[in-house]
């Protein structure tokens, strides 16, 4: 097995690089108040585009300050975004997308934990909010034909220009195509990723050279809508969690108790009882029985993974459709050769040449052909026995 976390280079036959547009266009830039989107906006301005800066108000965290400057969704982030726009001499507007965010990100986030899954909120936000609702608003309000972000990603297009895919970024440590997999061909065609060809140190340096106030801002790490990082209190507010439950091992034997299934994800070790001879990990989370099952590390190696919501940029994966390439089940996770086979209704199975460890229901799976992202979906919940 050749474990790698770097996407293979090269484009499949019939595809070509899609360089960022050189024809002047009116571009909406989603400024988060961080260094990446600041530099993205600066590069677009310098390339001669007419740039409109927006900061998205997504939820009530926008009413709070943020002492740590780590979230993109607070008052401080909005202030930084505004200062960058002023510095670049571009218009700046706050766009309220609270309703879209609640429907596409927050509610599914809560529902996922309630059903024992570990959600990927960034995927829904990118697909439905940034490259969904925001694109529509940019076009309707400002006549923008494209939306740019500070994501590390590139684009590819078929030679005839009819179909678009994401390509991994030059900087494999920063590549964010994993979180962007929900974008369809039309959304990718309208997306602009000015940073796809840069490394993070280059972006920081570009920010310093331009005197952007965000140049030294730390990376945003937390779930943006939970600035204090305590997502469990959000879940409690929403009534998720049945409280104390049982931890069992693979034989069904009682080994301890847990404080609520919503605090656990497959592959987790933290919060489990005992420090026995062999470490054990969460192997399944069942909110129906309120049980966590644990198992030795090797038991979590998996070669076949059931997937839901699987789509390619051209639409849902069809019954019997097969896609070959390298798959990963975590952001920057190991890439393993595999085949996705469509089972109908957006469901699919992923067969891997080598095992991947601890696939967690609800998490995103993506598959690359060379450096292009060909499909993505979510890891399915185990079917009830």
């Amino acid at each position: 097995m050749t474990a790698t976390t770097a996407v293979l280079n090269g484009l499949p036959d019939g595809w070509r690089e899609a360089p960022e547009s050189s024809v002047p266009e009116r571009v909406l830039v989603a400024l988060s108040g961080g260094v990446d989107s600041s530099v993205a906006a600066a590069l677009l301005v310098e390339a001669g585009h007419e740039v409109v800066g927006v900061w998205m108000r997504l939820h009530s965290a926008a009413d709070q300050g943020d002492g740590h400057r780590k979230s993109c969704c607070t008052l401080d982030a909005a202030d930084d975004a505004r200062r960058v726009a002023d510095h670049l001499g571009i218009p700046f507007h706050i766009q309220n997308l609270e309703e879209e965010f609640a429907n596409s990100v927050l509610d599914p986030f809560v529902a996922a934990y309630a059903s024992g899954e570990t959600p990927s909120p960034c995927v829904g936000c990118n697909t439905a909010v940034k490259f969904g609702a925001l694109v529509g608003k940019g076009s309707a309000l400002f006549g923008c034909t494209a939306v740019a972000t500070g994501h590390y990603a590139r684009r590819a297009v078929t030679v005839d220009g009819g179909s678009w895919r994401l390509r991994s970024a030059i900087d494999s440590d920063k590549d964010q195509t994993y979180f962007l997999h929900g974008l369809d061909s039309a959304a990718i065609a309208r997306a602009r990723f000015p940073l796809g060809g840069m490394t993070k140190p280059e972006v920081r340096e570009a920010a310093r050279q331009r005197g952007l106030v965000t140049a030294e801002k730390p990376e945003s790490q937390e779930i943006c809508f939970v600035p204090d990082g305590d997502y469990r209190s959000l879940l409690r507010e929403r009534g998720v969690g049945r409280g104390v439950g049982e931890i069992i091992d693979e034989s069904g034997a009682h080994v301890g108790t847990h404080a609520g299934t919503e605090g656990f994800t497959v592959g987790q070790r933290k919060g489990l009882p005992g420090s026995g001879v062999a470490a054990r990990y969460v192997s399944s989370v069942d909110p129906v029985t309120n049980r966590i099952t644990i198992a030795p590390r090797a038991a979590l190696d998996v070669r076949n993974i059931a997937l839901v919501g699987v789509s390619t940029p051209d639409g849902p994966v069809a019954l019997g459709q097969t896609l070959e390439g390298h798959a990963r089940i975590r952001h920057r996770g190991t890439l393993v050769r595999g085949t996705i086979t469509g089972c109908g209704g957006g469901e699919a199975s992923l067969a891997l040449s080598d095992p991947l460890w601890a696939p967690s229901p609800g998490q995103t799976v993506v598959m690359y052909d060379g450096e292009t992202l060909v499909a993505g979906g979510r890891i399915a919940r185990p079917r009830p026995a």
Binding site: V52, R57, A62, D63, L75, A78, P91, H93, I94, Q95, N96, E98, E99, G136, K137, S139, A140, L141, F142, G143
Partner: protein, 384 residues
């Protein structure tokens, strides 16, 4: 952006009059400083401040000692209310008040005080009917005219009804009304009222609380005893002088100015065409009514957020407003519009254009054309 800008947000503050800019710049150049002191320089500053106070007092029909300068109209309202309100009093106000006034009412409620909202009719006029004088006593925090929907309250009828019903001291927001007409202390008849500077073409950063001769002002900032101990802190002499000069200049031509603004707004109506074809409804007092602020047009769209329309218009070169100042893009419906009986979605879609003395006929015609184009485009893009 190189496209010409058309400023139609005079209700939030007009550009400073050129003669006021010249006056203030002369004063600053002359080294006007702190008016408290025993030297000639301080006396010179003090003389400028006294003159400003005296000029404003004369225009409003009061004695100079009845004028307290503050930094903002919100501060003056807070100072006025602080002077009359005790925790036991019931505070009467309306949902159509300026955000600053509503926040004061919320503060009273948060401290355990009673707050009662006087209902508004669909045209924005206060409906003081069954409001009996509460045994604990009452105070009122009301505006003479609404910046959001342009309705001018029928004064002194409302004042009369107030005295017959709830009664008690009144703190009046006269910021918008002072732009429209020649208000005086006797026509307002309140314990305290507030006027602002930027609205009449003076500088931002100064406003005034005008108090009845017998009304006490209880300071919120004690400071060094300035403003007769009513508001501590070194006075902004140049700003006060600019305010007084702008107020006087505005008053000198107020009737012509009102007629011109009314004509501007009517041209805008005609050039804009039927509102129904734009998916807009008019809010507040009828556009042709005498009970509407001159040069003020307010609408609601149920198909868009007011903030979005303002952003789209801004991009097209027009400075407009939702009419309801709101921070960081919240999508809460405007309480002022809800109070007129508008739906939630309509109350999120407030849009206001307010013309000023610098608005030209050409600007009005261009603006109407651009507004129509932008609204049609945005509405066309909204999923039905």
């Amino acid at each position: 952006m190189s496209r010409p800008r058309i400023f139609l947000d005079h209700a939030s503050g007009s550009p400073t009059r050129p003669e006021v800019v010249a006056l203030m710049s002369d004063l600053q150049r002359a080294g006007i400083g702190n008016p408290s002191g025993g030297h000639a320089e301080a006396r010179r500053a003090r003389a400028v401040l006294d003159e400003a106070r005296s000029s404003l007092a004369q225009d409003l029909g009061v004695e100079p000692r009845q004028v307290t300068f503050t930094a903002t109209a919100s501060e003056a309202l807070a100072l006025g209310l602080h002077s009359v309100l005790t925790p036991a009093l019931r505070l009467y106000t309306t949902a159509g008040e300026h955000r600053g006034a509503r926040a004061l009412a919320s503060q009273h409620a948060a401290m355990g005080g009673d707050v009662e909202l006087i209902p508004l009719g669909a045209d924005g006029v206060m409906q003081l009917s069954d409001h009996r004088r509460p045994t604990e006593g009452a105070a009122g925090l009301l505006s003479l005219a609404s910046g959001e929907v342009g309705t001018i309250q029928p004064w002194p009828e409302v004042l009369q009804r107030w005295r017959e019903t709830a009664g008690g001291p009144l703190v009046i927001d006269a910021v918008q009304a002072a732009y429209h007409g020649s208000i005086t202390a006797s026509t307002i008849g309140a314990d305290h009222f507030v006027i602002g500077s930027a609205k009449v073409g003076g500088p931002f950063g100064v406003a005034a609380l005008i108090s009845a001769p017998e009304a006490k002002v209880r300071p919120m900032i004690v400071g060094g005893g300035q403003e007769r101990g009513r508001r501590g802190g070194t006075e902004a002499v140049t700003l006060a002088a600019g305010f007084a000069a702008a107020f006087r200049a505005h008053r000198a031509h107020i009737d012509q100015s009102r007629n011109r603004l009314q004509a501007c707004a009517q041209s805008f109506d005609e050039a804009l065409g039927p509102l129904s074809t734009l998916g807009l409804i008019a809010t507040g007092a009828p556009f042709t009514s005498e009970a509407r602020l001159a040069g003020h047009r307010s609408y609601a769209a149920r198909w868009a957020l007011g903030d979005d329309l303002v952003a789209a218009l801004d991009h097209a070169g027009i400075a407009a407003s939702t009419g309801s100042a709101c921070v960081s893009g919240s999508r809460e419906p405007s309480e002022g519009l809800l109070a007129l009986g508008l739906s939630d979605s309509e109350s999120r879609g407030g849009l206001r254009f307010s013309f000023g003395t610098t608005t030209t006929e050409d600007e009005v015609r261009s603006a109407a054309r651009i507004v129509r184009e932008v609204l049609e485009r945005v509405r066309g893009a909204v999923p039905a």
